[in-house]
């Protein structure tokens, strides 16, 4: 494979594509609303109408507005017609959508691409999502895929790639927000020898599904990002650690790796250069703690997912003791775009300290649920009230939970905060991987805190005592409060124990487990106090 061949594939695919494409979302969200049957009906209708020469039905990835799925979009390749989006399409609507191409009327509800839900979005990571068939490498190549890998191999030396990423200001999208360029530089600086790249696709936070969508909708993008990372740090082997709960993502990844290997875009001497890179998939087995990097490494090695103390950091001693770069799916998916458009372009997006865009999974009581990708610095109010359409119940938004079990609840009064790493940390929450769960007045915050504690109690790996025993105690104390059996003293003990667990746990799971309790105590203390026994009680 050389550049000419790649461009030939690109041209051939562009010539192959028919002038009208009916995009049918077959990512997990729409699939469970019945989009596979809709797609079959659409194909049958295209045949029945005799439009086969000019029209094709394509499976595409996530179109983001999951709450209104299954979604179907009719796109004209020449751009002579505006794309038409249909929502909540049923099999009965399929024929009418195809007939509408000839001037009929479609029965499915019309979607609106100018809806506030879409209007504020700035897709970089999701730029191909919902537009290309994730199961065909040719479609990814047709939109310019793998060209950045070629450019990197022939136009950059590894240090220049690291420099480009450093200057872009990209920070880790898995939650920690560690500068990606710095991480790459640390691994690159280690003496030459066996090194690894790991893509952390163990998206364990409940309420987050960004990484799943990226893997399902545009898997090649992640592979290209990994290969570029491998070149930059001097690694020849990558692993994708993906949760077993995402069967479709695993299938698409397996297929993508096979296709890339067939075209020699992965393997030995990629593009005729001396660079070798192969990627293997490791499937998790349902342990939240494996999102923590040292636990993840243990799991890739086939052991129990117990974290270990750091240092040494994986950048120095990771997988089988070798220097290892671990990046989240979304971080790696940003890489091809940064190389293509340049670090300066990327650094212009977002805020002073948080560059670029972030994908959020907007869910919960909000009207419009789905995936959004917005520039950093967008305010929570814009996201929840404009894009999400607010909540349906009286009283409006009560709180927004970000960061999953490691994050916190942000009260409605702080909705004007802009979304970036520092602002969210200041509010006692974290950016996290990007789950954003909107809560209304029907939600009991103490119950939410207990829900997260129950989660952490179950997911604690049991290695260190503060986390293993602390989460159990915290859970029991929260239950006692909810049962109206607690007194003022219990609340103080609850708070003290939170700090103890936070300060003394071994890994991120324990250190952040008290966050949901602490943040609800901070903003909704009254709800706790209302559940307490009067001070003149038994004690």
């Amino acid at each position: 494979m050389d550049l000419a061949e790649l461009l030939a594939i690109r041209q051939k695919e562009r010539d192959r594509q028919k002038s009208t494409r009916i995009h049918c979302c077959t990512a997990a969200g729409c699939l469970s609303s019945g989009s596979a049957a809709v797609k079959a009906q659409l194909e049958a209708a295209v045949d029945a109408e005799g439009l086969g020469a000019s029209t094709e039905v394509c499976s595409v990835g996530c179109m983001r507005f999951c709450g209104r799925g299954p979604l179907v979009e009719v796109v004209s390749r020449e751009g002579d017609r505006e794309p038409i989006l249909y929502e909540q399409v049923t099999t009965a609507d399929a024929a009418s959508i195809v007939k509408a191409l000839k001037g009929g009327e479609a029965t499915a509800p019309l979607g609106d691409r100018n809806h506030p839900f879409f209007a504020r979005q700035f897709p970089i990571v999701l730029e191909n999502s919902g537009k290309i068939d994730p199961e065909r490498i040719e479609e990814y190549i047709a939109v310019g895929g793998y060209q950045q890998l070629y450019r990197v191999l022939y136009e950059y030396d590894p240090a220049e790639v690291v420099d480009e990423i450093t200057r872009s200001g990209l920070r880790g999208r898995g939650g920690g927000g560690y500068p990606t360029g710095l991480k790459w530089a640390t691994v690159a600086k280690m003496p030459a020898g066996q090194k690894y790249v790991i893509c952390n696709a163990d998206e364990g936070d409940p309420g987050a599904f960004m990484d799943r969508s990226v893997l399902e909708s545009d898997p090649h993008r992640v592979l290209e990002g990994m290969a570029i990372a491998g070149y930059a740090i001097g690694a020849n082997h990558g692993f994708i650690y993906v949760r077993a709960e995402y069967p479709l993502a695993i299938r698409h990844l397996q297929k993508a790796i096979q296709q890339a290997k067939r075209y020699s875009l992965l393997g030995s001497q990629i593009f005729g250069s001396p660079f070798d890179f192969k990627i293997d998939i490791r499937v998790g087995a349902g342990a939240f703690v494996c999102g923590e990097e040292t636990a993840l490494i243990a799991s890739v090695e086939g052991r129990r997912g117990n974290p270990r103390p750091r240092p040494p950091y994986p950048a120095e001693s990771g997988l089988w003791g070798c220097p290892t770069l671990i990046n989240n799916v979304e971080t790696l998916a940003n890489i091809p775009a940064i190389i293509r458009e340049g670090a300066e372009w990327y650094a212009k997006i977002g805020t002073e300290k948080s560059k670029g865009t972030k994908v959020f999974a907007l869910t919960g009581k909000v009207r419009n649920t789905g995936l959004i990708e917005v520039p950093m610095g967008t305010t929570l109010r814009q996201i929840v009230e404009e894009m999400g359409g607010g909540v349906a119940t009286a009283g409006g938004v009560k709180a927004v939970q970000t960061g999953g079990p490691s994050g916190g609840c942000i009260p409605a009064s702080a909705l004007d905060t802009s979304v970036d790493y520092e602002s969210l940390t200041q509010l006692g929450s974290i950016m996290g991987s990007g789950g954003m769960i909107v809560m209304d007045n029907e939600t009991n915050m103490v119950d939410v805190a207990r829900f997260y504690m129950e989660f952490c109690r179950g997911e604690s790996c049991g290695k260190c005592i503060p986390c293993r025993a602390g989460t159990v105690q915290l859970y029991q104390m929260l239950t006692k409060i909810l049962n109206r059996e607690a007194s003022e003293g219990d609340l103080e003990r609850l708070e003290a124990l939170c700090y103890m667990v936070r300060d003394t746990s071994l890994c991120g799971l324990g250190m952040t487990a008290p966050n949901p309790v602490l943040s609800t105590l901070r903003y909704f203390r009254q709800e706790y106090e209302e559940l307490l026994q009067p001070a003149t009680g038994k004690r």
Binding site: A285, T369, G370
Partner: protein, 180 residues
């Protein structure tokens, strides 16, 4: 010749016989293929356990012994890994499975009510199987279908925007007296 060779030989199996499980159960072949593909490397343990669970439905003791031997790992290590991860089950599950997602998005949208309705109707707690071995009731941390919460999975089929009525209706289809 080494002095050892003169000691009475223990009835060692020839290498080819490793592939034949004494019970004659063909499913062990699947494990052999998986282990071989991974060159019997110990870090393939989780992959092999996945395959075993797929083939056998759960990880019975015999299977764990077999894997430990194949990968040359202490049984304690295999057992330790099998019990650490939630997706591995050491006891058989029902013919059908109903998974209620208890992720945060589903939870605030009423997944607790779905679970309560199912527990009441089937007389089970989560993680249990009906006495006739027909239906297992399971909960999940998050299946990533948050956009269509609350979600449930019936025999691998994800269904969104569920209500207590809809999950009960789905379960009824599996129960033997549903025909009446």
């Amino acid at each position: 010749m080494s002095p050892l060779s003169s000691t009475p030989t223990i009835d060692r199996q020839p290498p080819s016989a490793i592939n034949e499980h004494p019970s004659g159960d063909k499913r062990f072949k699947v494990l052999d293929i998986t282990m071989k593909r991974n060159q019997y490397r110990s870090d393939a343990l989780i992959e092999v356990l996945h395959k075993a669970q797929e083939a056998f439905g759960y990880l019975e003791e015999d299977v764990l012994y077999y894997i430990a031997r194949g990968l040359k790992l202490p049984l304690s290590r295999v057992y330790g890994v099998a019990t650490f991860y939630h997706l591995f089950s050491l006891k058989p599950s029902g013919a059908h499975s109903c998974v209620v997602c208890l992720g945060t998005a589903c939870y605030v949208k009423g997944a607790g009510e779905l679970l309560a309705a199912l527990e009441r109707e089937m007389g089970l707690k989560e993680g249990e199987t009906t006495p006739d071995g027909q239906v297992s009731l399971v909960t999940a941390r998050c299946i990533g279908a948050c956009g269509i919460a609350p979600a449930a999975v019936f025999d691998g089929r994800v269904a969104g925007k569920q209500t207590p009525e809809s999950v009960l209706a789905a379960i009824k289809e599996w129960l033997p007296d549903a025909a009446s």
